[in-house]
Subunit: 393 residues, 2 copies
């Protein structure tokens, strides 16, 4: 029996597991120091009342013979897929419900979608990036190329004609940088992909944070994208579903490679290796897309965006370079005083009891940078900023 | 961009999707004929009250800031992993909670566990078998060997010394045949695997149906199994969770290959490509393992086993050869009059309005056989049997 050699090429530990361990060790040695977490992108506001009510009702239905539900379609209940189609119609994007697949979250689908692509494809990943893009492709033994995000390109790298790859990940609003591609910039990526029959894996997990009406919240707002892009989204940040677990993946029927519709391949993958999302969760997700749900959701997003604004203002006062923090829940800053990412991590933890995420954990280009998130409770954010204003550079 | 060539080697459609289509076509043409489904293994009894109450409470907790939960551990909450350890302790199997991984169901994990094994491993699959074993390995491009289940070996094939493979699937109680391996027979498989460092993927999804105290309900009841077996289980049939979605996978720390603990590989896979099961669902699953939950669950299992007994009696009266139906929710019968599996499927559908599952859908050796399930409502089972007694052989 041979184990998958790809696993042996992975770095030891998943980034957030490593951070968790460092914090636990520090806390064990300094039990009286209160820790404020502005690190992992977990939400703190509770679910909207309309979502809770829908899940309670669904649980109750499951306890009565007349309303009990067993297996649903692996790709999700039509009521939820249709609700998502209506949500997209509101953005001016027309989808049919067979183009929408309900998942237990973007992380699962970002990894699992790779099943339908050959191992010999070359993958293009922006650096810095969400570590899952890199690790899942190392597991699959794929060749990875990196495209550098830098201060010079505002961490929004663009394709050049000599750039070649089969698959490319784009995350906008970006994790970890909070940078957001404009319509014109995404059009460059779509044109590049169409030219060489590449496929874009578009991670739109943070789309709900976009406030500027000029910025696209779906890659399908861009001409030609249905012929080259899969879009993967999540309700984790949109509606506080990090613990509820629901997302969706859009595979347009027009997306065809080697004469095969990727929609059919993904359908085959999901019907074979997945059995759908909990009915109770799907009813909760449906409620997110009701007028009441959207209203309640918007209020939570505004709350987090106000956190981002407060953090951004503090960083401006400190004179630190950063991007993100508008139209995104992430703030990506240059570590002060030429510190390295992990050095700054330790410094913030030990001096201020603040946990952030070292940029180096997102790739080589992240070295010297640091990610803060806006998902904290307001009072925690304010206390963290009170501590930070004393930051000596 | 190249698509995964493994997908092109798959048969057109997943078995149950094909059956669904045939039934829809028949119903469209014969709208007045009432259909009784004894086909797909979906449960019909509602969830236990204790499970519903736990999920309602969990949903309510998610709506309040003080009790809201975001991301949990990818491998599941300790409260559920520990409840499962206690359940195993009741079988005389000692596990630590780091050996238990919570999943959204056995189907997902049966497919996803393959990620940790090299593509060049040879896989041994019993024929007939749950189609997911075959299809997931075709997708991964693995070489598959089949081991025939036959009337002669009671559909419980055993290893011979000249049999070689790296991975082997064992499902007991078996889907589709309902046959159950004895302790001595499983010991033969474990010894065979230990001899050649193979790994057994033990599918115990139907373990709760075993009533005979002599039959093992976990492979870890067999000496040496922790050094060669992964056990994958589900609450779908145990507790009616087909629509709720929760299962678990056990990877013992003692299971080491090429110097690497498979537990660590699976942990790495799950933390990278999965984000855990809904908190609400995990609270429901925890309730299954309370004394009250186990009692309520046992009553449902007894109900289904009584269905199985009624179907078995009818088949005996008809003089048909069959296996299963005791200690299992499946009855595997030889089609009457030398009919082929799909021929008998069409015959039952068109003559009696009864939907079963053609044995041929589970592999070549399934041709000429047919699966009935005991998961129907009692009144449907009784009406189906009333129709069936008129079966002309």
């Amino acid at each position: 029996m041979k184990i998958n050699p790809g696993f042996l090429n992975l770095k030891d530990r998943y980034l957030f597991a490593l951070i968790g361990q460092k914090v636990r060790e520090y806390t064990a040695q300094n039990p009286s120091q209160e820790i404020i977490r502005l690190g992992i992108g977990d939400v703190t506001l509770p679910l909207s009342p309309v979502v809770v009510a829908a899940m309670e009702q669904a649980a109750e239905e499951m306890g009565r013979a007349e309303t009990f539900r067993g297996y649903g379609d692996e790709q999700g209940y039509p009521f939820l897929r249709q609700a998502i189609c209506r949500y997209y119609a509101g953005k001016g994007v027309n989808l049919t419900d067979t183009e929408v697949f309900i998942s237990d979250g973007a992380k699962s689908d970002l990894g699992n979608i790779l099943d339908i692509f050959a191992a010999e494809n070359t993958v293009l990943i922006q650096d810095p990036a969400y570590p899952v893009y890199v690790d899942t492709n190392i597991m699959a033994g794929r060749q990875i190329k990196f495209l550098a995000g830098t201060v010079q390109n505002d961490f929004l790298p663009l394709p050049s004609p000599d750039l070649e790859a089969d698959l490319v990940y784009i995350c906008s609003p970006n994790n970890p940088t909070g940078a957001v591609y404009s319509r014109e910039q995404l059009q460059q990526w779509v044109d590049w992909a169409l030219d060489r029959e590449a496929v874009i894996l578009f991670d739109s997990a943070y789309e709900a944070f976009i406030q500027d009406p000029e910025l696209p919240t779906s890659i399908y707002e861009v001409e030609g994208a249905k012929r080259c892009a899969v879009e993967i989204c999540s309700l984790s940040k949109t509606a506080g579903f990090t613990g509820v677990r629901c997302g969706y993946t859009v595979v347009p029927h027009e997306l065809v490679r080697e004469g095969v519709a990727l929609n059919e391949l993904w359908f085959r993958r999901q019907t074979t290796k997945f059995n759908g999302v909990s009915y109770i969760v799907q009813r909760g997700a449906e409620a997110v897309f009701t007028p009441e749900g959207l209203q309640q959701t918007r209020e939570s997003i505004q709350y987090y965006l106000e956190n981002a604004r407060l953090i951004s203002s503090a960083l401006e006062e400190l004179g630190l370079w950063f991007t993100g923090g508008r139209n995104a829940p992430y703030i990506w800053l240059q570590c002060p005083g030429g510190m390295g990412s992990w050095e700054f991590f330790d410094y913030l933890l030990h001096q201020y009891g603040i946990v952030g995420t070292p940029g180096a954990g997102f790739g080589q280009q992240g070295e010297g940078f640091f990610r803060l998130t806006a998902f904290g409770r307001r009072e925690d954010v304010l206390r963290a900023l009170e501590r930070l204003v004393t930051l000596s550079l």
